[in-house]
């Protein structure tokens, strides 16, 4: 799909549980991304489900962050 944005999907099973990073969806709009997340990650009746544009996700540690002082 041209012009799509990648979204990270987060969910929590029950109140009191940890929030999990479930995966991603790619969509043309925020509204579409929400419905994609609802259908694609339908293995649970989530207590909380959210999407975040991946470009808005700023990694601080882990992932592809290297803790090296530039030369």
């Amino acid at each position: 799909m041209t012009g799509t944005t990648k979204y990270a999907v987060f969910g929590r099973r029950n109140e009191g549980d940890d929030t999990l990073h479930l995966g991603t969806v790619s969509a043309h709009s925020d509204r579409l991304a929400k419905t994609y997340a609802y259908n694609t990650y339908d293995e649970e009746d989530w207590n909380y489900l959210a999407v975040v544009r991946e470009e808005d996700l700023l990694e601080v540690e882990g992932g592809n962050v290297r803790r090296e002082v530039p030369q």
Partner: protein, 254 residues
Amino acid sequence: MSEWPAAAVDYVQAITDTKLVLGHRYAQWSLAGPSLEDDIGGSSAAQEEVGHVRQLFRKLESQGRDGDWLRGDRDPEEFANASCLDAIDGDWTEYMATIAPVDRAAWYMLDAVDRDDMDGMITKMGEDEYFHLEYHDARLETLADESPEKLRSTLAETLPSALALIGPENLDDDADPLVDAGFTSQSVEGIRERFVDHYRDLFADTDVSLEDVDWDAPDADAWDETRRRVGGGGIRKEDLVQIRGERNAEFAIE
């Protein structure tokens, strides 16, 4: 269960048949979407519609409709589905512009039913429908950018067909027999208004013109009140073969 007025049985039959054919269209198109997420959503909606249909079948059986007849032992002309679902010849955009208004119209009609003994069932259906309708609108918004002309021409056919399913505008608060009988809490005219407003708003700031849409359809005199459409026609033989499960009849379990 108490007996419904005859007009109410026809009303629920039309919702049910529309959902039956709609569920089948969802399933047929479940591999044809532009992304895997669309396909997953379509096959999910297909199951949910079947889920709704089998509960509605039980209600209709309690009103004397025959179970086998309901499940497909009848001619295409005996199905009271929205006419635009009879056949969808086109691509995925045309498919989306066909099913979206129909799913919404059928939900508004159900939502108008005001019966204590159907309240929980309809609430449960609404939980599914919320996401169907959200998804459709989100998709129609993106398609309005990508192919406004195709949307325009398809909606010019499908919106009047969905309006015919809801019913003619002369069925207002004073004239709607279902409101009079206390079966629905909103008249056909009220449902139409809700429906029309929704689509006018959705496309207001897009390149999709709804000027050609006949918002007054259906003509009350030409309207078939049983099949809730204007004119004849019906689903194709091939659809009926699939709905009946004819090809695999030998594997059916009673």
